[in-house]
Symmetry: none
Subunit: 212 residues, 4 copies
DNA sequence: CTTTAAACGAGACGGTACGTCGTGTCTTGCC
DNA sequence: GGCAAGACACGACGTACCGTCTCGTTTAAAG
């Protein structure tokens, strides 16, 4: 997750020399989110972040290779706050996760950063991998969890074919995340209760029809 | 679409002085797409575009306010090439438009630019409107057209409630465009025949279920 | 004397584009001398000079390759103010030029800059040439002038051997300039009336003895 | 000569704790001269010196306050190698010392460092004193020695006025050192046999004339 | 022997300046 | 007036050193 000499991190990272400040890491990521809110992606500068964090620019570059990597880590922490409590039915679970995701996308730091790093990742394989591991794959867990619950409830059948199940999970993830992002950022229309209900209904019918 | 004195453009726009070169406009937009391919959004510069187009920087700024506006116009031309020939059934039409859109998103100039301008638009209302009018609303016609054909074929019922119809169109547009973009750029997985078929099936069931 | 496209300077320098600001040149050189006085050579920065001159850093670098070249030009203007009015005798002329040179070396901008650029020039041939042409060779004129006057007065014989005359001129120049600089900057002792008289006496005896 | 806790230096300086490494001192000064040769004054860095000496930066700063002080000590060791064997006459002694000094100034570490520290000393009184005690005053001994020998030989009269003798010594020192430095570094001309002979002749006539 | 305290290597740290690049504006002179 | 050329003020870039600090380790003399 960090630049150079990370990997093992912590205990045995390097035996000699002054150890890296853990406070600095936290301060930098928080400062990055602050700056994203105030300035947006394109006007965020490394110098500004370092100043907000009360840290030297070199300290920043020692840990992250650039703005892209820094922002991915900063917003990944936001995405990790998403949860999926059991709402009693698949439909309710879907509605809940859609609303929660939409709420996250109302936060200015998430709005401005998410599309920007994805845009950069189209020309930077390392960045794409970082986004995938730090954000995408971690959130897929919500879909997996919802599916398992629905299967336990008998709302969805168990899928014997492992690979098919995986493809379905990916598809559902892309449909939910993609549609919400498009609605919120591209169409720039509100993700309100009515829209969520309509979208969830469409998705439920789709799921049940496909599963049949 | 242009900066200052645009609208009518061309012949009678301003009475005195040398008229603006129409060749320059085309050259600039083409050069912008070239530069997007080679350099990507973040490394594309106004100076580089002007040099590629064989045009002075002032000429560029006389027409567009900045990089954002220029790139929106440049990629909008790409999106206008999308078409929807009648494939005989709603399902076939959907598959076709999904494939065509995915193909567009394989072009490097579209990949890198689309997400980037959307990211910028989260903090720039004028830019959001420009994107909406130059790209989003123009492509919504494909959904409307598909719907009308399906209704003519009897695959979908006519919707009396105008506003409901509009909301449904928007939803379908967000689902298709959002899902494909997410698959292609965020998940970074291929949009192949198998995936398209699965996605279309899900969508068809969703539509039929909701419409019932 | 300048960076790039100088040479012919002025009229036909470059036909097209905005011409370089002559005011900027003067402001930069003045700002450089100011900064040398206040900060000294080692704490003078290009950024500070550009700020004092009310000019962008790029404007500075467009004209000079670096601090060394800039400072040479800035102090060269100081050296050009040296004059040698006819004081009636060779001895008086020598005393006058020594005093005037010592006075120049009391100016903080000259003290700090002169030795520094010479130090740099030991590893930079281009800089050495620049110092030679902008400062050293221009001041040698004072020695030549003093010699001619002394010959006209009959204080010194005319030298038939051109090359010998040249070597003598160089030697006298090194003796006067070197000794005064060493006294003022290395020994850091005052160049007062008494010292000048003693030094001049030594020099006059040396000249007459050698010439005999 | 050193930073902190020097003065008394050596054995009883501080009673307890690990004593400073004498090897480190020598390695650092040697590394400094090496670096001066390779990089010159302005590109010499404390970090580089410490690396060459196989020593931590802290070890370096524990002994010297900065680059200036370090370099003064490093070149002072060079100057201490100058000697003045009895060549039989004042003239021969002068020629010898001039040649030896010129030879020292051909060494790149001396060329680049000498002028640089003098330049710095114009704004740093402590540095000027250090240069004076470590270099200037120590070399003045050569002039004093030459004078005493000449007096013993009867080439120069004994000077009763102590203060006048001292002023004369200083003047001769400034003339010799200043002229040679100016010839070698500012005029950047070779100090060859012919030039030395001419300069020495001038000086001898000057001395004899003044002494009369 | 231990203790004790400074020296030592390594390297992270907050700063400052570097020299370059991109932006958007301006000033020329030619069309 | 459009336009190419290019200078300009501004501000961010990523790097290099500065001199200080914080670690863990080593080393000699005092107890």
């Amino acid at each position: 997750m960090r630049h150079a000499r990370s990997g093992t991190s912590g205990s045995a990272s390097g035996r000699t020399g002054r150890p890296r400040s853990a406070e600095a890491d936290a301060a930098i990521l928080a400062a990055t989110r602050d700056a994203l809110c105030e300035l947006g992606w394109s006007k965020l500068t490394m110098g500004d972040v370092s100043a907000r964090a009360g840290v030297a620019k070199t300290t920043l570059y020692r840990r992250w290779a650039g703005k892209n990597e820094l922002v991915v880590d900063a917003v990944a922490e936001l995405f990790d706050t998403l949860e999926l409590p059991d709402r009693g039915s698949l439909e309710a679970d879907v509605e809940y996760v859609v609303l929660q995701f939409a709420e996250l996308l109302r936060r200015p730091e998430a709005r401005t950063a998410l599309m920007a790093v994805v845009a950069e990742s189209t020309r930077d394989d390392a960045l794409r991998d970082r986004i995938r591991s730090a954000i995408v794959d971690r959130q897929k867990r919500l879909v997996v969890l919802g599916r398992e619950r629905a299967q336990a409830r008998g709302e969805l059948p168990y899928e014997a074919d492992e690979e098919l199940a995986c493809r379905t999970t990916d598809l559902i993830f892309d449909v939910i995340a993609g549609t919400v992002v498009h609605r919120a950022l591209v169409s720039a229309e509100p993700v309100d209760q009515l829209w969520v209900a309509t979208f969830t209904a469409l998705l439920m019918h789709g799921l049940q029809g496909s599963a049949a």
